[in-house]
Amino acid sequence: MLENYLPVFIFILVGVVVGGVMITIGFMMGPHRPDDEKLSPYECGFKAFEDARMKFDVRYYLVAILFIIFDLEIAFLFPWAVVLKEIGMFGYAAMVVFLGILVVGFIYEWKKGGLEWE
């Protein structure tokens, strides 16, 4: 099993190295003439006012939290999907109950307006 993961591991390294090499080439080939105006962040030609790192609507956090929960749900679905044929009707019923409980949460979230963007 582990020898199957060796190519995967090397491939991840190669993927990052390819990007790194490209950027290095860019640094070697391209000119370097920095000046204040050029390095200032883009603001449609105005001087930047207030800090760029602003506060965001709490809705983004809600999306992230809900994403975690649903991602976990998917993680639970994976082994189930693989063995569905072996565990048969009992396993299916177990998952129906599991999804049923979570659908209650989903409906609650829907009715509360947690999915609205306005």
Partner: protein, 198 residues
């Protein structure tokens, strides 16, 4: 066998180094990124003990989801580092207590008669631990599995009640209403006598 040990040591060192960077580095965003690295290194370690499914799910759930939330929060909230530093001494005894308890439990488990580890069995290359997990999780352990669903349900409800704030003065379009508008909704014809100019 040699290369496996080599990889183990590299990633253990990486794990410990990045974990200590998490608590020492000043910038909270960088700390969160080091935590990502730590999760990644531990996923590799889990892979080395052939816990294939758990290793990948660790990356999928913690790196792919939980840390994204951490980054969102850490990036967008103004966390006052000075004030957090001030609490360091105050919380130090509690921290030490937790650390000692955890270390004690680890030692207790590892230094026992080894009965905790005797169950490990070596399997052939076609053995899929996703499948093995699935075969027991939804049959023998079906009650804990359903309890997990309830915990997730509680998490959904808690997340919504804690974070959902209706903003009263948002401006957004309602295209359906815009299209449905008739003339008499917007213009009112008023019959009146011509007024004399003063």
């Amino acid at each position: 066998m040699g290369i496996e040990k080599f990889i183990f040591y590299i990633f253990s060192v990486l794990l410990i180094a990045s974990a200590s960077m998490v608590i020492t580095v000043r910038n909270p965003v960088k700390a969160a990124l080091f935590l990502v690295l730590a999760f990644f290194a531990s996923a590799v370690l889990w892979l080395l003990i052939k816990a294939e499914f758990l290793a990948i799910v660790l990356v999928l759930v913690y790196v792919g989801a939980v840390m994204v939330l951490f980054l969102f929060v850490v990036m967008m909230l103004d966390i006052n580092i000075e004030r957090m530093r001030a609490g360091f001494i105050r919380y130090l005894p509690l921290g030490i207590l937790v650390a000692l308890t955890m270390a004690g439990m680890l030692i207790w488990v590892v230094s026992g008669d080894g009965s905790a580890f005797n169950h490990s069995v070596l399997h052939g290359p076609s053995y899929s631990n996703t499948q093995a997990l699935g075969l027991v999780l939804y049959t023998n352990y079906v009650y804990p599995f359903e309890i997990a669903a309830v915990i997730l349900l509680v998490a959904i409800i808690a997340a919504i009640t804690l974070t959902l704030r209706r903003r009263p003065n948002t401006k957004h379009q309602k295209p359906a209403e815009q299209i449905a508008v008739k003339r008499h909704d917007r213009v009112r014809m008023v019959k009146m006598k011509a007024e004399e100019r003063k």
